[in-house]
Structure formats: C-alpha cells, structure tokens
C-alpha cells in the first residue's frame, strides 16, 4: 500500500509537470509574415452560443473567406497581400473564461488583430484588457449607455452598433409621426431591457403620448399571456417590448393565439431574424417593428452583395440588424490596414478613429468611439423585407400604421 501511495503521488507530479510543459508550448508567429491572424474568443457553447453564432461567427467567417478569395489584404509594410486566418476560441458563455481566452489569444497566439466577444457585458469585460495590450476591437453586439464611462478605460474599443440614446429618440419620433396616442412598454429584466426602457420611457414621457404601462418580466419566462392580457386591458395603440429572441417569439405566438393585434407592435431582438419571418410567415409578421435595422436596400456599397453572399454561403438570409455591422467591422479593419500599410495597432487605431469607411452598413465615421450613423434605428417587416422606418431620413419604406391584423387561420 505504501508503494501505491507514493507511486500515485509521483504520477500526479508527472501529470502536473506535463501540463505545465503543454501550457508553455507556444504556437508562435512564423518567421516570415504570410498571414494576418485574427483572434476571437466568443460563445460557441453555453447559453449565448446561438445568438453569438448568428450575429458574429457567420459574418466573420464569410468575410475571411471572401478576403482570402481575393488573395488577402495588402499590407504595405510587407509589400504583399496577406491571407487572413481567424482563430476562434470558445468562451463557453462565461465571462471569466472569456477574459482568459482573450488574453491567451493575445499573449500566446500572438494574434495580429482581435474581434470582440458576443454581448454587452462580455465586450465591457474584455475591452479594458485588449486596450491594455493595445489592440483595437470593434464591437458589433454592444448596446449600452455606459460605453462613455468605458471609453476612458478602453480607448481601443469602437462600437459600431447604434446605441440606446439614439434609438430611443428614433422610436419616440416614429411614435409621434404615425400618431400613436398611448403605449405600453414591457422589457426583459436584464442589462439590455433596463437600459433601453430606461432611455425610451422618459423620452416618450416628454411627449403627449400616454405611457399606460411600464413593466418588466424575467428572462426565461415560459408564459407571458398574463402580461399580454394586462396589456390588452389597457387598450393601447402601441406595444413596445424590449425583448430577447426567446420572449420575442413567445410574445408573438401568444399574441397571435389570443388574437391581440395592436396598431403598432415593436420588439427588441429576434424579430429581425429571417427565422422569425419564416416561423410565422411573411403575412403574419407584416407590420411588426423592431429595434435596429439593416437590409440590403440601404444606401451602402456592397450591401446587396453581402446579402447574396451570405445566403449563398450559409443557405439562409442574414438577420437584419447588427449582423451586417459585424461584417462591416471586418471591412473597417481591412481598410484600415490598407490605409495604414501596417498591422501596428496604434496606427490602425488612429486611422479608424479619424477616417471614414464605406461598408455594408454605409459610411462609418467613429465619433468618440461610436458610430453615430447607423443605417436604421427601427425596422418593420413589409412584404417579407425588414424595411427601415426610422429615423425618418433613412427610411427605405414608409411605415405601415396601423399594423395589419393577424391573418385569419383555420
């Protein structure tokens, strides 16, 4: 027995030593620079895996494949086109793992560029870290008024998505424009819902529109019919639901079944998925609005091409909001490299902070680290396309108001 015990112990020592050796093994950059390695630690498993894959991974991959098909990105410093290589790490939807993986990408993989993780909290957690190492990062799934506090800690973070303040204003103007008299606001009790409702409610409060209801509901609710019935009782013109995909689908389903069709129905995230349109049918989703919008008709070079390429590559249409901006973020990095002629992050940052970039979401010029010129703040399904209806100047179609009633069913 004595022997076994000490033998076991020695085995343990060897295992630990072996692991340490493995940890110290580094892939290291090849001596001759022949490709640009881009790191991304993102939720490929865990509870954020679905949205992360839809909104970022597919777009990044598409961009990398397209770029490599062209022969890569020309970098002046090396005097040649370099292929791009995406290095994905899984963060298992865990912030602690995410920060670890990001740091590992930077210090062990020694990637040349970084792409952001999915979601506001993850981006915020990672931003100071990548800034510390002096890597630029363009977040396309960040939506929070708090970015201003962050920009001090994370000067290398750029946010390409539209932000709550602006979107709240666009929503309010739209409501006034179409002549909504009363509104019910419900929101998911989470960073996203709280921030957006916190912005939009006071804005609407300043207008003559009556807020008949302002309620939150928990993430992961299985039955929202009580909430819907309460809204029904208020007899409002418009329902604003700052929802996540799960509750967007659930609310839609239950509203259809209960035959409740307000004049204006607005959701947070998920209504912009083509899956949403296909699940319920174009006729049913006709007139449904949602936060944030992009479609192939926006006045941007390559928007239609991106749409077609996405369909060709993934066999389904791209969702119609931040997904295009994930692709645009890659385009911006590509152009910045072209302009700077180097992979030096400081120079890239300067270029990105000061120049204007034509992308699939239009001309992007960062102001204080955010993109004030997003193509759409509110979208609406019209005959199978997610048209931009707010802000007014960017409309790709006039808003339909009131929303058509649900089509009759057997």
């Amino acid at each position: 027995m004595k022997k076994d015990v000490s033998k076991g112990f020695v085995n343990v020592v060897f295992i630990v030593l072996g692991m340490l050796t493995f940890l110290t093994m580094t892939v290291g950059p090849a001596a001759a620079k022949d490709k640009i390695r881009i790191g991304c630690a993102i939720a490929l498993s865990g509870m954020n895996a679905v949205p992360a894959r839809v909104s970022q991974v597919t777009e990044y991959k598409l961009w990398a494949e397209q770029t490599n098909a062209k022969g890569g990105v020309y970098v002046k410093k090396y005097g040649k086109k370099l292929a791009v290589e995406l290095v994905f790490y899984d963060d298992n939807s865990n912030i602690e793992t995410c920060t670890k993986m990001v740091e590992k990408l930077i210090v062990q993989e020694k990637v040349d560029l970084m792409l952001p993780p999915w979601g506001t909290a993850f981006n915020f957690a990672v931003a100071p870290l990548v800034s510390k190492y002096g890597y630029i990062m363009i977040g396309s799934t960040v939506s929070s008024a708090k970015w201003k506090e962050l920009s001090v800690k994370a000067p290398y973070l750029f946010i390409i998505l539209n932000q709550p303040q602006k979107q709240g204003k666009a929503v309010t103007e739209l409501l006034q424009d179409v002549g909504v008299k009363s509104v019910a606001i419900v929101y998911v009790a989470d960073l996203f819902g709280l921030e957006h409702s916190g912005v939009v409610a006071p804005l609407i409060g300043q207008t003559s529109i009556e807020i008949a209801m302002l309620k939150s509901y928990p993430l992961g609710a299985d039955d929202l019919s009580p909430l819907i019935k309460r809204i029904m009782a208020k007899k409002v013109d418009a329902v604003l639901a700052y929802s996540y995909p799960d509750s967007t689908f659930l609310l839609t389903k239950q509203m259809i079944a209960l035959n409740y069709s307000p004049n204006l129905l607005f959701f947070g995230v998920g209504q912009h998925y083509p899956d949403y349109r296909e699940s319920f049918g174009s006729k049913t989703v006709e007139g449904i609005m949602g936060l944030g919008a992009w479609n192939p008709k926006v006045p941007a070079s390559g928007a239609r091409d991106f749409f077609n390429a996405y369909v060709k590559r993934w066999g389904k249409e791209p969702p119609r909001w931040g997904e295009a901006s994930s692709f645009a973020a890659c385009q911006i990095m590509e152009q910045a490299i072209l302009k700077a002629g180097t992979l030096d992050q400081k120079k890239l940052r300067q270029v990105i902070a000061s120049e204007t970039f034509p992308t699939v979401i239009g001309q992007v010029k960062f102001v204080e680290g955010t993109n004030p010129n997003y193509p759409g703040d509110v979208g609406q399904w019209q005959s199978g396309e997610y048209e931009i209806v707010a802000p007014k100047i960017k409309r790709t179609a006039e808003p339909i108001y009131p929303k058509p009633k649900w089509p009759s069913r057997k």
Binding site: D4, I95, L191, L194
Partner: protein, 309 residues
C-alpha cells in the same frame, strides 16, 4: 503509516512546488501565469467545496452564491480599499452568508440539500437582479482592475490557505466528526457532537474561501451584472471537479480542478466548435474506466486513519 521517508519527501515536494509557484511571475510567460491563475481559482473553489461537502457527502450547489458575493464585494469596495482588504472583505461576506445559508439548510440532507442550495442560489441571483434594478437603479457595475501578477498572488495565497485548511480539517477530529454527521446526524448528535454548530461552521468556512476567490477574481470581470457574477454553472463546477479527481484523497479535488481546467482550456482553444462534445465524452470515459476518479486510478483504495497520526 506512509512509511518513514515518505512524509518528509512529500513535505519537501510541496515546499518546492510552492516555491516554484510563488516565483512564477518572475520567469514564466504571461499566459502560463494566466492559466495558472484560473486553475488556482478552480482549485480554491473545489478544495473549499470539499471542506464541508467532502466528508459529509452533502452536495452543496450554492458555490455560485458565495463566489458572486465575493465579486460584488470587490465591485462595491474595490475603489476604496486596498486589494488584500477587499479580498478579505469578500471572504467575510462569504462567511457571513455561509452562516446564513448553513442555518437555513439545517434540516436538509442528501438530495434535498443539493437542490435546495441550488434553488437558494437562484433566488439570490434573481433577488440581487431585482434589488439592483429597483433599489440601486442600475444593473451593471464596474470592478476596479488589477494586474495579472496581483490576481495570481492573491489566488495563490487563497488557494494555499484553502488547501491547508482542507488538509488540517480532514486530518483532524473535526473531519472525522463531519464524516460522522454525513453518515448519521442522529448518531453523531448522541455521540456528543454539536451537529448544528459543526454544519454551520464548516459550511461557512468553505464559503469564506469561495468569497475570497470571488473577490480576487472580480478584476477579471471588469463589468459585472447579477447574471454573470452568480453564473449557476459555477455551482456545478466544484462538484464535477472533485468527483472527477476523486474525493477520497486529499489531492483528488486539486487534481480534478487542475486537470479539468487544463483540459477545458485546451479544448476551448484547440477545438472551439467541439468543446462540450469532447468534454462530455471525456467525462463518460473517465466514469466508465475510473469509477473512483483520477485519484482512485493512481493509487489503491487507501483510507485516512486518524489514529495513526
């Protein structure tokens, strides 16, 4: 009984390993430090979990609560207190909450205890969310960052302390009393063991280390909300790691935490699309071929014998 030389050798090895670890920041590449820091965090969580749950066999699924409380402590105090004080406060908050949870769970054992602690930690998560929203008027909070080296040293100290505590408790009469409680609370009580005090005290001690780990790791989060700080998966991790490593040995949980964290890291980075698939298969294979966990494979079924020390 480990033989005449073995304990000395072991002690020597442990000192050596500790010295190597303590000087790591001076010569190791940054990413090793990073990985080790993360490993140390899971070692702390797992080892402190086994302080109470190992001998009693009660499976606590409230780890996320104490860890999260540590994180929130760091978020609230991080800017006003020096780092060691913050970590200590996190620990004390964990301790205080551990006493509370221990008190609430007193009448429960077995499966009911496991699910109850899990339900309780979900209740805490939702309550904090509600509180932050309705009372503090915010959801996210900033955490003051620290350097890798600082995080590494605080976790090294916390992990060492938790290992030491776990070792001493396990080898002492207290460990045996906890085992007795796990076997039969009634008989333990009639043998003169104050079951209430023991259950609460040792549950709180393990919470203390979890709280400290949370406070020390908070810097890694930068921006926290209740859902990320009280991530329910954290509650399952120590259970998996200690069972995986083998709960019958002192080093089983350490080994489990070390190896599973390491495997995760390799899989997350090398096979990002198949992380959980491979991870799951490893679990099943280990269970099928090493029913006693890794430690069970490495040595025979040795039992601790208090009388011989």
């Amino acid at each position: 009984m480990e033989g005449k030389h073995s304990p000395v050798n072991k002690l020597f090895f442990i000192c050596f390993a500790w010295l190597v670890a303590a000087t790591l920041p001076f010569y190791s590449p940054a990413y090793v430090l990073l990985s080790i820091t993360s490993i140390l965090m899971y070692v702390t969580l797992t080892v402190s979990w086994t302080i109470f749950c190992g001998p009693t066999g009660y499976i606590s699924l409230a780890t996320a609560t104490f860890f999260g409380i540590g994180i929130y402590c760091a978020a609230l105090l991080g800017s006003s207190l020096p780092a060691p004080a913050v970590v200590l406060c996190g620990g004390l908050a964990g301790l205080a909450f551990g006493v509370l949870v221990g008190l609430i769970c007193l009448r429960l054992s077995g499966f009911y205890f496991a699910v109850f602690t899990f339900g309780l930690s979900e209740l805490v998560r939702h309550s904090v969310l509600w509180w932050e929203h309705n009372v503090s008027g915010t959801v996210g909070r900033w955490v003051t960052g620290t350097s890798i080296t600082q995080a590494f040293y605080s976790l090294l100290v916390i992990a060492s302390l938790s290992i030491l505590a776990a070792y001493l408790i396990r080898r002492s009469i207290y460990g045996m009393a906890l085992k007795a409680i796990g076997e039969s609370e009634e008989a333990a009580e009639h043998a003169g063991i104050n079951v209430v005090v023991y259950r609460i005290a040792f549950f709180a001690i393990s919470s203390f280390f979890m709280g400290m780990a949370g406070a020390a790791m908070a810097a890694k989060f930068t921006y926290i909300d209740p859902n990320s700080a009280f991530n329910p998966l954290i509650s399952f991790t120590p259970v998996l790691m200690s069972l995986f490593g083998g709960i019958e040995r002192d080093y089983g949980p350490i080994l489990g935490a070390f190896i599973l964290t390491f495997i995760s890291e390799v899989l997350l980075s090398r096979f990002p699309y198949f992380y959980t698939l491979i991870y799951g298969i490893i679990f099943v294979v280990v269970i099928l071929f090493m029913p006693r966990g890794l430690a069970g494979l490495l040595g025979s079924g040795h039992q601790h014998k208090f009388m011989d020390h």
